[in-house]
Amino acid sequence: MTPTTTTTVPAGSPGPGAAEAPLLEVRDLRVGFPKRYGDVAVLDGVDLTIGVGEAVAVVGESGCGKSLLGMAAAHLLPPTAHVSGTVAFRGRDVRAMSRRELRRIRGAGIAVIFQDAMTSLNPGMTVGAQLRQVCRLGSSTSPEELLAAVGLEQSERILRAKPYQLSGGQRQRVLISIALARDPALVIADEPTTALDVTVQRQVVELLQGLQASRGFALMFVSHDLGLVSEVASHTTVMYAGQVVESGPTAEILGRPRHPYTAGLLNASLSLEERWPLLAPISGHVRPPTGFVSGCRFRDRCARADDTCATRPDLVHADGRRLACFHPLAATDALATRPVVVAEPDPPSAGVQVDDAGRNVVVEARDVVVDYHGHGTTTRALAGVTLAVHAGESVGLIGESGSGKTTLARSLLGLVEPSSGEVRHRDTDIYRLPRMARFRTLARDAAMVFQDPRSSLNSRLSVGAVVRDPLVVLGIGDRRSRDATVREVLESVGLPATMAERPVRALSGGQLQRVALARALAVEPSLIVADEPTSALDVSVQAQILNLLQGIRAQRHLALLVVSHDMRVIRFATDHTVVMLNGEIVEQGPTERIYEDPQHPYTQALLAAAPSLHAAGDDQ
């Protein structure tokens, strides 16, 4: 198995473009980090082929090694990585190249667009300096032309700006322009739009697609968003825990998934998009590399697994795709799982629908105006917002960054004092109360669930301590009753009571978000504000948390305010939707009405921008 023999055998390359020699050919790639994970291969025998001008997607949840694969393809892995196998670019193994050759390949042959444009640009250099630095290596275009190509006008101003002076979308465009400066043949885009708002995300994706068409580079699109993938890529490779589980034409893979993991991912997203009564999550979560199971690494989360799965399935050719599974879904039942889940065991949200006779308002904002004062300038964050949340009702707050949705949520919780207008909590104007009384009232009756549980929960404490904390601070109950409450709320969010002993840092993201919810429930509030409760989570886990939120709201007759930029989350989780733009509510109404018949042009734009799996499904 020397590099030369593997690269000269093109027989294994799938897809229609197989006539030409592939641009990038990854064969049996293994990557390990011996110091951190011991013998475990974080990438385990990965194959990937990208032809000239082709767009290939790599999908999977976080921790599945898809970004690592991108880095390996550009030979940008950290020096601690232990690598074997071949990564051939235009038939030559990048691992065998000299530094000089590598430098020639990077930028001019393979370029990378990274996920977080803020940290991926040098904070101390102007955009112009960074672009010129790259152009000096031999580019046919000037920095001004490059910025124009990525749709940035006012190039003079942008060139003189430092990265932090630009908006997120502008930064991402600058990052793209750096990648394209030397006309690469292959662009590796590692979650290029994840940190962006929907409409900006849409613009960036369209930009990438347009550039790909006009410049003819091949694209390796690393993403967890199946909707985006279905729009961008002609071929898709699905990865789980460092192994390729299924790959082939995108329409095939996403239209008729054979591997249970692909089907699970797809169901989780689709159920969200089509508003199934209950979402279809995949149970469990991706383990850290040290916990990878032997054989098929998906078997501990797979409903179809049995004893045979203890040996690793080979990635084999089967009608136009490659598949590694002993018990694949039948080719005939196209997304057969869809009707199965609709069995609706106990319709949670239907019982407490809109017109409850005794609809009592839990929290209400009346004409709230919030100004932030900076150095001599004043920014109006909220310009007269009126909103009410009733018991048992779920209200969704949607808008892009800077729309004021977080400010509104905070002022409802008594954290941001409005300059005019009032916030009434059960008929008390909370900003009339003295400061401490306000905090005390609201701490007992309202709770918040934050976006990223890993940073909002103290990682040094045990789960029990985190959940018990609000009870201790507010002096609710005694030691024994607090322990009982902790056990009870942990069980109500689907965690075993024994979990209380575990340290917070040992939990997965989904488990942590459950803990955050348990902490919120501990004081038995009547209002829960969830600020982007699922955006830090993978799609399969998102579905678990959203189902849980729905169930708990119905069971406890809670008022729920969900703040999100994800249209699908709002649609599933709420009865009433409020759309915000520049500190004002531009449209509100019953969620279904908003989604089916949006009135305001901004709502229409938001809906149009959201990537949709539907398109892929309807294509075939």
Partner: protein, 343 residues
């Protein structure tokens, strides 16, 4: 097809007009306040120096006239030199002299304190400058090399050696140095100072030894600061972007990383120079260099309070001045005003 592009094109990020100059301006204000504060600090120092030294059991008259002088002679001496005036009067006189840049008289030596410091200060300054150059140059090289090879043997060796020299007492290092290079190898003189007029090589070889010993702890501490700061910066995402775009590692290191990474070390330099001044007292004594340190030690030993006061005041002024210069340097070098605002 997208009707609303309000959030992206054309509009600047909402916070940009405020955050841009804010950091620098705020820092400039901070430096300005420091500058205004400097005279006050010096006033405080002069008071402390004067009063504390006055409280010491030394009797200048006894120091000047020797142990055989009787009480009458000492009283006459005190009256002639204004030593029997009350403390506030003497302090006021001291301050008035200070404003006219006169540091007073030595009660033992014929020269004024000004003349004595005038002879000693240039020597100490030469020693300090040489030590600073050695320390900064070696810590830059070693710190960057260690950061580049983070976790590898080179890094380990550099870190261990740096920790050793940071912890070892300076007088001991000095003695070992003399033992090795002067007594053992015989390549350097064991002590003493040759002015530049006696020839460059004599001058250089008389100063290089003490300068190295003075620089060692300082270099060791700086190496560790620089290593940590550069390693931090190398791990940042933008380095990966630059390498991924085909820039050579050297270009990335020199062109981008060092500019960002050296800001923290520069702020520490001022503090270390202060530490080096007290180190100079020890080193000058060990190497028998007639600088400020030796002058101070002699003054203390002989109970010559005028000299002690003069050296202390000059030391304090230099320390304040050095730190203000470092602050200004930071203001010039810091390319990211916003980061100050954020942190």
């Amino acid at each position: 097809m997208v009707t609303s592009t309000a959030t992206d094109l054309g509009l600047p990020a909402p916070s940009s007009p405020r955050s841009r100059p804010g950091g620098r301006r705020r820092y400039a204000r901070l430096v300005g306040r420091r500058l205004l504060l400097a005279p006050l600090i010096l006033l405080g120092v002069s008071f402390t120096v004067f009063v504390v030294i006055d409280l010491s059991p030394n009797d200048p008259a006894r120091a000047a006239l020797g142990v055989f002088a009787d009480a009458e002679q000492r009283e006459r001496f005190a009256a002639e030199n204004g030593l029997d005036d009350p403390l506030p009067v003497r302090y006021a006189r001291f301050l008035a002299d200070l404003v006219q840049l006169r540091l007073g008289e030595s009660v033992i030596r014929p020269e004024s304190v000004n003349d004595l410091i005038g002879m000693a200060l240039p020597i100490t300054v030469q020693l300090m400058v040489m030590a600073t150059v050695i320390a900064v140059a070696s810590s830059l090289v070693l710190g960057i090399v260690a950061a580049w090879f983070e976790g590898r043997p080179v890094d380990r060796v550099v870190s261990v050696v740096a920790a050793f020299f940071q912890a070892a007492p300076q007088f001991w290092i000095g003695l070992m140095f003399v033992q090795l290079f002067a007594v053992g190898l015989g390549v350097l003189p064991a002590g003493g100072y040759s002015p530049l007029s006696t020839g460059f090589s004599y001058w250089f070889s008389s100063l290089i030894g003490p300068a190295i010993v003075l620089a060692l702890p300082f270099a060791a501490a700086m190496t560790r600061v620089i290593r940590a700061s550069v390693a931090d910066e190398l791990a940042k995402d933008y380095v990966r972007t630059a390498i991924g775009a085909g820039l050579s590692t050297g270009t990335v290191l020199v062109g981008s990383v060092l500019r960002n990474a050296l800001i923290t070390p520069i702020t520490v330099v001022g503090v270390y120079i202060g530490a080096m001044m007290s180190g100079a007292i020890l080193v000058e004594t060990v190497f028998n260099i007639p600088g400020m340190g030796t002058l101070l030690v002699t003054g203390v030993r002989q109970g010559d309070l005028g000299i002690v006061r003069g050296v202390a005041i000059v030391g304090a002024v230099s320390f304040v001045v050095v730190n203000v210069i470092v602050d200004l340097l930071y203001l010039v070098l810091n390319p990211r005003g916003a980061e100050v605002t954020r942190s």
